[in-house]
């Protein structure tokens, strides 16, 4: 039954339209910039890129907290209704977590897709260039994996904020007249 909620949340998030799309794009941008700055900081130590990386990581923490806050605020009535119809705290937490996972995975896929296209276009434009020379335009897989781990870590404050806010929503709120 946990899988059922997980799956249905994906459907709900997909249908939520703008909110979902906006956050997917922002997260994709965040993953790409973090990875890019980290790679540059690695190749050119003691430059401004190290600070840029820190800056982007801080932005990721702020963004995930904002997302946690927005989800619980926009979906207050929905969550209160779910509590009224018998959803327990665990199921509602899963609903929130599934949306977060879906946003993150979708943004990651977008970043990968963009990287593949950049590689393809670069090769097409300059077929003699070997793959190693592309380091300045593509992101090293190891850096990408580290970025994913960092961004997942950055989700924790937002996730905790969201959990806390969601559990504060009382089922009675569903009875409030619009």
């Amino acid at each position: 039954m946990k899988f059922r909620i997980f799956w249905k949340t994906f459907t709900m998030a997909r249908r939520s339209g703008k909110r979902f799309l906006v956050f997917v794009i922002i997260y994709a941008f965040l993953i790409a910039t973090t990875a890019y700055f980290m790679q540059q900081a690695w190749l050119n130590p003691n430059t401004l890129f190290t600070w840029f990386t820190v800056l982007v990581v801080i932005s990721a923490v702020i963004l995930s907290s904002l997302y946690g806050f927005l989800i619980s605020n926009y979906r207050k009535r929905e969550i209160a209704t779910l509590r009224t119809i018998g959803w327990d705290a665990g199921s509602i937490r899963l609903l929130f977590l599934s949306e977060l996972i879906l946003v993150f995975v979708s943004s990651f896929i977008i970043v990968l897709e963009v990287i593949f296209h950049v590689v393809a276009v670069t090769y097409w434009a300059n077929p003699t260039s070997p793959p190693v020379a592309l380091e300045s335009v593509i992101i090293n897989p190891v850096i990408l994996i580290i970025t994913v781990a960092i961004i997942i870590g950055c989700q924790i404050p937002g996730m905790l904020l969201g959990y806390w806010k969601i559990l504060k929503i009382r089922p009675m709120e569903a009875m409030r007249k619009a």
Partner: protein
């Protein structure tokens, strides 16, 4: 038929800033299984607070409520979701359908956290969709349904768990007279056919004609039963 809902000397107080508001004052009430009860009162009379307390959404400040044999004062907070899922259903004035779910998914949603298989849940939902005559609209999102259709879906959602009691807070409040009348007729039919106890809270006097019993509430007190 036995009493499904007993309310003994119940009062409910709220704190608004420094002020204490007594929304429900020493209410005593018994509702029998299979009854269709309408609680009528003007705005601010305490009828919605009474419904919240009766349904276990809120605990009384004083007194006790026994819902299907369970004293809501002594039930652990963690147990309420299961009780709501298995024993009660809710219908709201604003329908409160989940925007991202289709009609059939909205009806199924209370059962998703249960251990029942998806097939069984779907069969139940389809049966209810036929009963409310919306089978051909099952894959429509709430925004694609009219107010009356949304409320019918909300009623089906409230009934999917075969509840003992269905609580409705101003179920016709956002509907025109004709549609509102159809909704109450549907609830009355389900009350007769399925034997589900229905407690409706409203300010609309025209719903009284459908009630087995009418309870009037004014200034937090039950006036006539």
């Amino acid at each position: 038929m036995g009493d499904i809902l007993i309310c003994e000397n119940v009062s409910k107080e709220y704190r608004r800033g420094k002020e204490i508001i007594i929304a429900v004052k020493q209410c005593n009430l018994k509702i029998r299984q299979g009854e269709f009860v309408v609680i009528v009162g003007t705005s601010g009379s305490g009828k919605s607070s009474l419904l919240n307390v009766l349904s276990g959404l809120d605990r009384p400040t004083v007194g006790r409520v026994i819902l299907d044999g369970l004293d809501t004062n002594i039930i652990e907070e963690d147990m309420f979701p299961k009780i709501r899922r298995e024993r009660v259903g809710f219908v709201f004035q604003n329908f409160n359908l989940i925007d991202g779910l289709t009609a059939i998914e909205n009806i199924e949603s209370p059962m998703w956290p249960s251990d029942l298989s998806s097939k069984v849940i779907e069969e139940r939902a389809l049966k209810l969709l036929r009963e409310i005559d919306l089978i051909e609209r099952k894959d429509h999102l709430p925004k694609e349904l009219s107010g009356g259709e949304q409320q019918r879906v909300a009623i089906a959602r409230a009934l999917i768990n075969n509840p003992k009691v269905l609580f409705a807070d101003e179920p016709t409040g956002n509907l025109d007279t004709k549609t509102g009348d159809d909704i109450v007729k549907l609830m009355k039919r389900l009350n007769k056919d399925e034997g589900v106890t229905i407690v409706v809270v409203t300010h609309d006097e025209s719903l009284i004609k459908y009630a087995d019993r009418t309870i009037r509430i004014s200034d937090g007190r039950i006036q006539i039963q």
